[in-house]
Chain length 399, copies 2
């Protein structure tokens, strides 16, 4: 039981404690951990020797802390819980709590490589039916490996960063034309943040996932469908995705999600040995997509076909190394029902079936000024709820 | 005329002066510049105040120096030339020259994002004919935009780093099987190193190329064709490429290539306005591919359809930002003749026509123990030759 006001019963209570980087009034970026509607200044806590992490908490990004590994992550988390629950520490710790309303939240880690998977069977099948009607919805390789590709790490931005509508080429019957995207979309995803790095040539087997992955963020992989459709053959998405990918300001540590692991969907055909995770577990994260304040979708992460452990094992099986700050995202999270789809391409079935918003307007793709917020919750210990940090963005007109 | 022994007449004379990072006997990574078979310790030169660069030359990688911009790049280069040509400086500078044989060369810059283009018409057409016989060799979008994708930045390695044969899935008529790649290939490319960063949302027009790009490296984008063929639909190459991409240890500044610009091939159909560079210039870089010591190919970079200025303009036209250390590569350099192809896929026409090596053996794809070296030269001032740093790698057996 925390002595912090508002922590009891909050989905950001001591059972959660996501990490982030904030800028208080003094202007210096600091690592912090969220509790209720406050942020505990971990930079100040390490400076005051209330927590010892070898200086990793005094950095302006989480990367050094991410390299420390699970025993250290667990020790620091335990110490934070102690500081926030033991009344003896209150006098020393209370001055280090800053109201969230008074700080700016920054990108919590320097992104190494950003990989985006395509791990929802419902999403892949929907996209297949929309773009290749009359053909099998899944390509022959889809159930044998988690399809993925590298996205642009340098344009991963923190939640609330405005998203400028991209311009680019789109195909027309008369050849390509240049202009602002007319089919600007979202992709609601879950991202996994790598901590402990590997050497080149060293695969991460499925059973070593939790040794390397620190935690998760919510992701909105903004997508310009018209640019993507014209450019993506044969080497995959490029400018249709590279203009911005938003992530939540809070990184939820895996420790906070210990009660959220659930059996993942059975896989048929059987996967190759290096992908065979036992137990075969996904995470029961319940996403919500709000479009200008209207909840338009509730994608269930538990329905994902490929598990995060399988994704990391696949990503590294060729010897590719990982670094602290690498981010791999699940791909669009879509459940079996239309109301569970994580992209507007699917929600409006290729733009053919507009969705009604509570303000009386309707939409197919994003209009200038539109805001999208993706949130999620997970089951926590003893019937509690863990809230993930939201990822939000507002569309600005093309330049 | 340089006072350095061996500089006169060397393709690494004072007209060249590529930058790199080296580790001398004392073990600390230092920035240096190559002259003949020596490296000038720029870290030591800045420490001794022989060169002033705000401390950027005292870093362990080039990234901070890369951010300084063209006026500073030119000033530093001029000062280095002065130090290496004026006898008055010889006594102070000579102790800072270290034989290349006594140092280890390191990755010269921390790679931000790595983008790989596909800009050789001959290469794209060859690949099209090999994989899609009977169909048009180029896809409909190819002549309208420089096709590209993001590669893995974290596995970009410096020349001479061993390349372990990757394992992965390959397709068979009975379904996928897992094992070491059987079709391990190279891609001889030219890479462009970004210096001056941009803000998110700020495109780099074709006429601003030299404001942002510092110089070039040679690239070998090792490719496992069997892994790639099975995985690449629909999101592009992933594990078939991500295990290793080798770059030369030396970054040749654009100043050294001032005499190498030549008209690029005419483009038909006309490109969209944002891609219309005038003058439309490529670089007369003459590559050589050696396989176990036998020269098997001489790819001419001047034949590339898309110019580096067009590549950077395309890469950023959607508002994607660039960072110091971003690397964008040309894609495989192949000329019109078989003897000018930059991949073994093309050289052996999909593995159907083995190539003979001087040791009496023949090859289709790479065998364990094989070494490949890509070198290049360019015309320099007054009839001189500029040598680019070589990129070399030896294949180690799969683990």
């Amino acid at each position: 039981m925390s002595w912090v006001d508002g922590a009891a019963g909050s989905p950001y209570g001591v059972h959660n404690l996501p990490y982030g980087v904030f800028r208080p009034a003094d202007g210096r970026a600091r690592i912090g951990v969220r509790i209720a509607d406050l942020v505990l200044d971990l930079d100040g806590a390490e400076a005051a020797e209330l927590i010892l992490a070898g200086g990793a908490l005094r950095e302006p990004v989480l990367n050094q802390f991410l390299t420390l590994g699970r025993p250290q992550w667990t020790a620091v988390r335990s110490r934070i819980v102690e500081l926030l629950t033991d009344d003896d520490h209150r006098a020393a710790v209370e001055p280090l709590l800053v109201p969230l309303a008074e700080v700016e939240l920054l990108l919590p880690f320097a992104v190494g490589d950003y990989v985006d998977f395509y791990s929802s069977e419902h999403h892949a099948a929907n996209v297949g039916q929309i773009f290749r009607p009359g053909q099998p919805p899944l390509l022959p390789n889809w159930k044998h490996l988690p399809i993925g590709y590298h996205g642009r790490a340098g344009t991963v931005v923190v939640s609330d960063t405005p998203v400028v509508r991209p311009s680019g080429q789109r195909g027309t019957p008369d050849g390509p034309v240049f202009g602002p995207s007319r089919r600007l979309d979202i992709e609601a995803e879950v991202g996994f943040v790598v901590g402990v790095p590997t050497e080149l040539g060293e695969p991460v087997p499925v059973d070593r996932f939790t040794d390397h992955v620190f935690g998760i963020v919510l992701v909105n992989d903004w997508s310009a469908r018209d640019i993507q459709a014209w450019e993506y053959q044969p080497l995959g998405p490029f400018l249709g995705k590279s203009f911005a990918t938003s992530v939540s300001a809070w990184v939820t540590p895996l420790e906070a999600l210990a009660d959220a692991w659930v059996p993942a969907p059975a896989q048929d055909p059987a996967v190759l040995d290096y992908l065979a995770d036992a137990p075969h577990l996904g995470l029961d994260l319940r996403l919500t997509v709000d479009w200008n304040g209207t909840t338009v979708s509730r994608p269930p992460f538990a329905t994902m076909y490929w598990t995060p452990a399988q994704q990391l094992a696949h990503l590294t099986v060729n010897g590719a190394s990982v670094r602290a700050g690498d981010l791999f995202a699940s791909g669009t999270v879509s459940g079996p029902d239309r109301s569970q789809t994580g992209s507007f391409l699917e929600l409006t079935w290729g733009g053919s079936e507009p969705v009604q918003l509570d303000d009386g307007t309707s939409r197919t793709f994003l209009e200038d000024g539109d805001s999208v917020t993706v949130t999620a919750t997970a089951p926590g210990p003893n019937g509690t709820t863990v809230a993930l940090g939201e990822v939000r963005g507002t569309v600005r007109p093309a330049r």
